[in-house]
Amino acid sequence: MAKVPRNFRLLEELEKGEKGLGDGSCSYGLEDADDILMSNWNGTIIGPGHTVHENRIYSLRIVCGDQYPERCPSVQFVSRVNLPFVSQQDGKVDPARLSVLANWSRNSTMETLLVEIRREMAAASNRKLPQPPEGSTFQL
């Protein structure tokens, strides 16, 4: 199959994001609408129900580098959250500890990334972790 180059792949993702994803619990968009390189993105996850995250809105920053989608993007929580793969210093996601990043393939997208993180929040081991106060952010 034809290999879609980074920029056209990101345009596809942008258009998909603009239309809205699935049930609306995850979304993303360009941080700067003028960014011709489309590197910096904002992501949002609405915390899954029946967990400590219920009704919380988490924002994240996603950076798609030159090698995207061959290499995974770097992800950082802006909203404070307590999850095993999120650094409590700065909110950075450790790619080694999140399987969607560790096993990244060019078929993975920002949508799959956000959906996977949300699923992690609902995982049995994570759903009841004590959380920082709602609305607090990492000191960046």
């Binding site: 199959m1 290999k3 180059p5 920029n7 056209f8 609408a33 011709i36």
Partner: protein, 174 residues
């Protein structure tokens, strides 16, 4: 999968016998992905500008149109801030008889004939409609960073077919 014969042929001709004012070269590691430059047409507000674009031939090409985007910022009512182009032949008016070459010529022609009635960039379009002269005055300023000296283009145009198609179907749909 092997590159279809048609793409190989088109590439060969693009490289060996480029259309005046247009270059297109495939990436070494992705032969469906092209670096493109288009010279602003003489007599247009973009005269003397050289614009960089990228073009990708999706798997379904030529049944589906190529994907094209400006990389150079440009002040034009049918081109948005991310360089996406509003041109009917890149969308529902695509014909598999069109080629990379004819698409690029049509984009070059779009630079000569902006269509403010069907904008991708509403603010620019408004500017064009209210005061075309002033909008055109702005264009070169925005593009000044990439302006370089160049020869005037003047050779004959063998892509009449596409241009006819282009002119015929100029009512853009976005």
């Amino acid at each position: 999968m092997a590159l279809p014969k048609r793409i190989i042929k088109e590439t060969e001709r693009l490289v060996a016998d480029p259309a005046p004012g247009i270059t297109a070269a495939p990436h070494d590691d992705n032969l469906r992905y092209f670096d493109v430059t288009i010279q602003g047409p003489d007599g247009s507000p973009f005269q003397q500008g050289i614009f960089k674009l990228e073009l990708f031939l999706p798997e379904e090409y030529p049944m589906a149109p190529p994907k094209v985007r400006f990389l150079t910022k440009i002040y034009h009512p049918n081109i948005d801030k991310l360089g996406r182009i509003c041109l009917d032949i890149l969308k529902d008016k695509w014909s598999p008889a069109l080629q990379i070459r004819t698409v690029l010529l049509s984009i070059q022609a779009l630079l000569s004939a902006p269509n403010p009635d069907d904008p991708l960039a509403p603010d620019v379009a408004k500017h064009y409609k209210e005061n075309e002269k002033d909008a055109q005055r702005v264009s070169p300023r925005v593009d000044a960073a990439v302006r370089v000296r160049m020869r005037p283009s003047g050779a004959d145009d063998r892509s009449e077919f596409s241009l006819h198609l282009f002119i015929e179907t100029r009512h853009l749909v976005c």
